[in-house]
Structures are given as structure tokens and as C-alpha cells.
Symmetry: C2
Subunit: 389 residues, 2 copies
Amino acid sequence: MPSGTHRVAVVGVGQTAFGALPHPPRALLRQSIHEALASVDKGISPQDIGEGYLATLGFGGWQIGNPASLLGEELGLPGLPVSHVENACASGSTGLRQAYHTLLAGAADVALVAGVEKMSDTPSARRRYWLGVSGETEWERLAGLTFAGVYALLAERYLAERKLTTDVLGAVAVKNHAHGALNPHAHLRKPVTMEQHHAAASVADPLRLYDCCPVSDGAAAVVLAREEVARRFTDTPVWVVGSGGGSDFLALQDRESLTRLPATRRASDEAFRHAPFGREKVQLAELHDCFTIAELLALEDTGLFPEGEGPRATTEGRTRLGGALPVNVSGGLKSKGHPLGATGVGQVCEVFHQLRGEAGERQVKGAERALTHNVGGSGATAMVHLFST
Amino acid sequence: MPSGTHRVAVVGVGQTAFGALPHPPRALLRQSIHEALASVDKGISPQDIGEGYLATLGFGGWQIGNPASLLGEELGLPGLPVSHVENACASGSTGLRQAYHTLLAGAADVALVAGVEKMSDTPSARRRYWLGVSGETEWERLAGLTFAGVYALLAERYLAERKLTTDVLGAVAVKNHAHGALNPHAHLRKPVTMEQHHAAASVADPLRLYDCCPVSDGAAAVVLAREEVARRFTDTPVWVVGSGGGSDFLALQDRESLTRLPATRRASDEAFRHAPFGREKVQLAELHDCFTIAELLALEDTGLFPEGEGPRATTEGRTRLGGALPVNVSGGLKSKGHPLGATGVGQVCEVFHQLRGEAGERQVKGAERALTHNVGGSGATAMVHLFST
């Protein structure tokens, strides 16, 4: 890395409610962008935006190719340089990483990153294809493995290796549902008990209904600015202070382990390499919990907890709001919802509000440093970002 | 832009032949990546690569989600931070722009950009969808307009406004076919005459068969390095010295003009803003000629020729190999072929060989400065890049 600053400011965020919504993707996108612009404390004009990134899988095939141009249309800036980025469920954080690099390079002063997905009105066969295609195709999807089935294999191996019961999965579900119940933007605003978790239908053994995130619609947008111009837009920016990426084999069978995601490890190591603080200083984390097992994997793969500590930290309540390191206080993908392309951008919205002390009932007291983690597919791509006040 | 250098080196390139090929996309990708690595003069190890970008539309739906992870798999580096980028037919140059920013930011020393598309074995109904979706959907594709039909509207208006005949379209076709006949990697290695052009079947009036690029398979890859490390890999790098992007309304009906592409104008202005040379110094250009009319538009929208000069420059032979400013000496999309995601990356391969004097029969003598131009859809996105020895 060159000398000089590695900071970029988040100066505004916007997010639709996540859920089964009647709106088309373009309307969701519009709402999130306009909210993000309106949220900038000292005001911002669309003309201030110098580059745009759109994160979406175009779930179900939403009939629009070349979709990044919608950013310019919605901003009233039909000239804006734009890019469509996509890394399966990690698309949102991939857009964030691109924007971060572009601003560090000085190629623009201000960038917009928006993510959107419309999943709820897709016929179920098509939905299975679009979910399954984010895993591996030849040996997994076409052999009949669903996407929940892929994570079920990881969960089964994890529980067996560590001699644990599904109570630990239930503990993640109960916690994230409790958090999501406090979030007005969450898809599932409904606490669940351990008894409800255990009694729910099996989706892919050992994963039951409350181990799985919902199928959500939604959009999120963030406005980022170079450090040199950030104070023109707000006196209380939230700084992006680290970005890391990683990848892995698509197929589970090609990987060394079923209970570690090396893509997350690589991403986390890179993010912390140049960051102004270490893992022990992180005060809240939004981790990719598309299934409860994914949060357990991420607790250790990010290095936030030492190897073997994730389950105990969870069952002891250390990752709960009020615990030593609250994880997914937004509700996470599990309860807040998972509109694929919007998810990684929505994590930044949560962190922005938390680090500015604006998170209401789910505020992590005194939070100054946060981590976001976003996984593509079953771990073939991953991104980690670090934030501070 | 910050002070300091804005140069990034191209240190290696690889490209499959373009054409109707039997290979699956992954095999094409592999070939282009391995050729790019092997082409680096002083050698390179996959471990030197710090970030990867994959450009593809996944034409026809090639059954692999999260495809950027294939870059790591093919390099034997299943940890590499990777991103899948997509701006319709401008995807390849969008990957180049991202990599350029990432290297300027110092986030990596070396990056790989690869593009791939497999189009030839897609059923025709599906092909119509995938081609059409790059234009506008609600008012164009679903109303029955084909993608050739979109460009035919532009051509019709252009010829009418300028009081020209289809001879000027034919002149582009004849020139680019003559160039492509000299390129061993071209899809259509076949000169055509003006008589053949005029006698060919109408595709979408006024566009005839030889006005349209073929449906091609292929892949291309380039290795880029920060200036600080470039000499470790070669003594004769080709420098990327400018990058510009632009966008526009998706639908033709929303645009101010049918005979200008403002996205190209915005992209070209940005690329030249910080470049060490002006438009008058460009010695060869690879312009996006998916249809012959597209090259005519680009001649002026890039600013390489003054408004109104494009047709005469073409018919007088100024854009031919041996002319004052040869355009599409590779054969262009028209004759070299247009495997969507690979196209913008393939343009860089051509420029690399030209600026190093390695282009054989189609060498532009003494070429030291070049421009590439890549359009998404009917102009809703566009990228322009500048190169020098």
C-alpha cells in the first residue's frame, strides 16, 4: 500500500424495509438512493456523485440488462460512470470494495453504491435455480443439492466435529430474531424461542425453518466520500478503514475443510492488515448469517473469536445486544432479511447508524469500531470491511 | 485527482481465437489466462496476482453463479480477491477500469482482468433475449425491437440527417473485414467488397448482413501492474494512461439525440482529462463497432474526428491500415468478433501488441499511443481507455 490515508467516509445511507414487497426493483432502488442522498447532514447534490456501483444478481432475471445505467437515470445524471458488480450474495460488499478503491485512487471524490434484489414473486422452480446457481453447479446443484442443503452439509460436519447439538444453531436464531424484532426495517420482526426453533419444520437436516434466512425484497444505498471532501457533507462521518476480499473453490468437495471458510479468513486478514485497530477492538459485527451455521463459521473465520470459541460465546450471550461483542444487532440476514445484492450494502447502513449512535432500541452503547462480513454462495467469495468513528 | 502517477502497466495479454468454438466458457477462460501469464517477458507467478476481475454476461445463462471465483481456481490461487463485473457489451472495459483504480489506489500490485463469453450454442429464442436485454426492455425489447433493430434506428436517422447512403456503412464493413483478414484470431477472416455488402440480406433496414458483428465465443485476459513494480515483469510495458466512463438513458426515446452517444463523449472527456497527450496524438483506435453505424458514431463521439468528419474520413481511407488514424486494425467487433465480456479485454490485447510492434501484417507503423472504446448495449454505458509506450 502507498503511504498516505486509507480512509474513505460514509456520509449518507438509505435502505428500504426488507420483506415481501409489492414494488419492482427499480422503485426499491430509487427509494434507497433518494433516502441516502436526503440523509447527508449538510446536503448533497446528485452532481457531487462521481462514480456509481450497482450490486444485484438480477434475481429471477428481472428483464433489465445493463442495469447500472439505472443509477444515472435515478440520480438525474445520465452520464455518470457506472458499473454493475456481482459476487453472488457478496455483491453489495463487492460494490463497496470497488468504490473504496476508486475513491482511494482519487478517480472520484464521491461515489454511490446501491444494491437491490426482488426475490419474492419469482416462481419456485426459478427461485431454486437462482439460489442454487450461487453454489457449485456440476457436483452440487445438478446433482439435486439445494442451497440450504449445501449449508446443511457444513452444519452437520460442524456439529459432529465439535460434538454439539442443534441447540447452538438455535441460540443464533433466537438471538438474531430478538435483535430483528427491534429493527423497523427487518423482514421478520418476530422473536422466536428455543422451543419454537426445535419444533419447526426441517428444511435440510440439521437446518430447520428458523435456521434459514427469509426470501426478501429490498434495496440499500450508501454515499461515500474521499477524506479530503468528507467534511463538506457531514461533521460525523463514519470511516471505512479497511477492506479485504477472498475467494475459494466453488465446490465443497474441492475444499480442505467443511468447517472453515478460507475466503473469509483471507478477507479478514487483508482488512486488518492496514487498519488502525486490531480484532480485539471491534465493538460490533454484522456477519453473513444466511443460515445460522454461517454465523458460527464467521465468528471464528473473521478472527473475532479464537478457534473453538464461537459456540460458547454464542450460548453465553457474548454476541447478544448487551454482550461483549454484539453480532448482527440488525437482526442479520436471518431476521432483517437477505435481498441478495442489497445485503452487503444494508450492513453498512446498520453500522453507519450504530457508530453515529442513531440505532435506537438496538444501539450498541459507545460503539466506535465495527466489522461487516459478506459471503458469496457457500463461501467461494467473501468480503470484510472495517469502520470507525 | 491526487498528485502522483496515473500510470498502470499492461505486462501481459492472452486471447483465444474468437469464433464459433466447441469449448465451454471455463476452458476458454483458462486458455486466455494461461496465455496472458506465459506472455509476461520476465516471467510471473500466479502468486504475484493480488486482485482479479471477471467480465462476462454469462450469455444464455451458463449455469455458473459466483463465477469470479473461477479466476482463483484457474490460477491455482483459491484465495484471490475477485469480482465479477458486468456492463452489458462494455463489461471487459469495466473490468479494466476497476483494476486500474485498484492498482492506482495501491490496494494490489498486480491485477488480472479476464473476459469470456460463450454465445454460439445458445438456442435462438434465448439468444434474442440475451441480446435484446442489453437494450431497453419495456419500450424496445418487449415491443418487438431486436438489438439489430435498435442500431438500425440509429443508422437510419444518421443517414437521413447527414444525407448519406449506405455506402458509408459499407465502407466501414469493407475496411474492417480487410483488417480482420490479417488477424489470425479473428472470427471472420474474409475480405468483403462493397458489392457483396450491398447485395447481402437485410437484417434490419438499413443494416445488412455485413453491417453486423458475428455471434462469437472467446476469452481474453490481461495482466496489469502498478508502475512501481512493472519493470520486474517486462522492459517494454504498455501504459494505461487514462480511463473514462459514461452512461445514458437505457431507452432511445429518453435521449436527446439518436446520432450521438453522450456516454462515449463523457467517457472520452474523462479519459483525456488527465492523460499525457491529446486526441490529436492518438495513432490507432479500437472502437466499438458491433454494427457499422456504431463505428461512425464513435469516430466523432470519442472526439478523434470533428463533428461531421467521420464519414469522409472513412470513405477517404483515413481510418484504414496505412491511413492517418487506423481504426479497428484488429478487424473490430465486426470481423474479429464480439464475445461480449471478452471484447473490451480483447481490445487491450490488440493495443498491447500494436504498441510493442508485435502485430505482424496489421502493424500500425511506429504506433506509440492508442485508444480503446467499448459500449454497453445501445450506449447506456461506455468506457474509453488510453495507452502509450
